[in-house]
């Protein structure tokens, strides 16, 4: 039950994009069409989960025993960036079809706030390994949901008559604001 609440809270109540403002660069960059958004959502979830596990292990078994917690930021950034690079090479070698589909996204998420923030939040709230994994999957799913919703809205927007200066980024922000407003309805549903 505890895990379910954590998951739901990560997906909708504390949605990464709409209430925590993380991963906005990807959010506004990729949400131009629905297919790309689905791919990006999946790639982010996978990378986030795997890097959370690694970061948790490194933090618990290396940084804490050796009293190196002040290096958390540096270590996590390097860990994630090198892991994503490695993942890219492996996928390129062994699953070229998959690479053609999602390879581009992997490069984009190598150094991105959304992937770095989940391990940091896990450490900050001192989650256990199982909780960290659930939190990572939930956050990734929440990110994907926001991305797909936004992409479908923006596809509709292409036909709309938008005032010249607002075109592009401006109206996308306002749209995201509306989305955030509707997600506000979920706040208070679960208190952790």
């Amino acid at each position: 039950m505890e895990y379910l609440t954590l998951f739901i809270s990560a997906v909708i109540v504390n949605n990464f994009v709409l209430t925590r403002f993380l991963g906005l660069c990807i959010f506004f960059g990729v949400s131009k069409n629905v297919n790309a958004s689905v791919g990006m959502g999946m790639a982010v979830t996978a990378v986030m989960t795997l890097s959370s596990i690694m970061a948790w292990l490194v933090y618990t078994y290396v940084l804490v025993p050796f009293k190196l917690t002040f290096l958390t930021t540096v270590v996590f950034v390097l860990l994630i960036a090198s892991f994503v690079q490695l993942l890219e090479m492996i996928i390129k070698k062994h699953a070229p079809a998959l690479y053609n589909m999602w390879g581009v996204y992997l490069l984009l998420i190598a150094t991105n706030c959304v992937v770095l923030s989940v391990p940091l939040l896990n450490v900050e709230s001192s989650f256990s390994l199982a909780k960290s994994i659930v939190h990572a999957i939930g956050s990734g799913a929440g990110f994907g949901v926001a991305l797909v919703l936004m992409a479908s809205l923006r596809e509709k927007l292409r036909l709309a008559d938008v005032p010249k200066p607002l075109e592009g980024l401006g109206v996308a922000f306002i749209l995201a604001g509306m989305l955030a407003l509707s997600f506000l309805g979920f706040s208070g549903m679960i208190s952790l």
Binding site: L18, T19, R20, F21, L22, G23, L24, C25, F28, F70, L71, T72, T73, V74, V77, L78, A81, S82, T111, N112, C113, L116, S117, L120, L121, E124, P163, P165, L166, L169, G170, V171, A172, F173, I174, A176, G177, M178, A180, L181, L184
Partner: protein, 202 residues
């Protein structure tokens, strides 16, 4: 001198990191609900981007191009850690208010982008001014957003009441949704300004 000024000043409006380049948006929304927090974040980013540009420019001829990005990341992460420790020691309240976003300065696109686009190809002094200009542009944008959100959203400025006591502040602007919508209009406004500047130049 004039050249340095033009390097410095392009970050202010024409290539403003938040409003025009639309990089590093996360902090612009997340930590701008009050002026003092925006100011701290803006100054931190200004320090990091200037210091990192300088470091990258110094080592640019020593680093093999193949490993340049990891080198930049290590440099940025080290500088951010310094900033983190300083803030934690001297301004613990603001350190708490910035929370996770302070650590996330490491992955701000704008810092890596300036290192890659400018500092890796230019001399130390030019890179320093480029970083300073971009940092100032970032700081100005943060302050504008922070001031609007604090004055309208809670009727105060730097914690001092500026609106009449009967002013009923719309909570909307302090909430995430308000931040998105406000930035949408600010981006549009900045676009109009840039177009105006370019038109009057031509």
């Amino acid at each position: 001198m004039k050249e340095l000024w033009s390097i410095f000043n392009k970050g202010l409006i024409l290539e403003n990191p938040i409003f025009v380049l639309a990089l590093s948006l996360c902090p612009a929304l997340a930590v701008t609900s009050s002026v003092i927090v925006s100011l701290t974040m803006g100054l931190t980013v200004m320090f990091v981007i200037t210091a990192n540009n300088t470091v990258v420019s110094i080592v640019r001829n020593l680093v093999n191009p193949k490993v340049r990005v990891p080198v930049y990341i290590v440099s940025i992460a080290t500088i951010v850690t310094v900033a983190q420790l300083v803030l934690q020691a001297y301004l613990p309240d603001l350190y708490k208010a910035l929370g996770i976003y302070l650590a996330l300065v490491v992955v701000f696109a704008i810092i890596l982008a300036r290192a890659e686009v400018f500092a890796s190809k230019n001399g130390v002094i030019r890179s320093f001014f480029d970083g300073l200009g971009m940092g100032t542009g970032f700081l100005i944008a943060m302050l504008i957003i922070g001031a609007i959100r604090e004055i309208i959203g809670s009727g105060t400025f730097l914690g001092i009441q500026v609106m009449p006591a009967s002013y009923n502040a719309p909570l909307m602007l302090v909430l995430p949704a308000g931040a998105f919508i406000l930035i949408g209009y600010l981006v549009a406004g900045c676009k109009m300004l840039v177009q105006h500047i370019e038109k009057s130049k031509a």
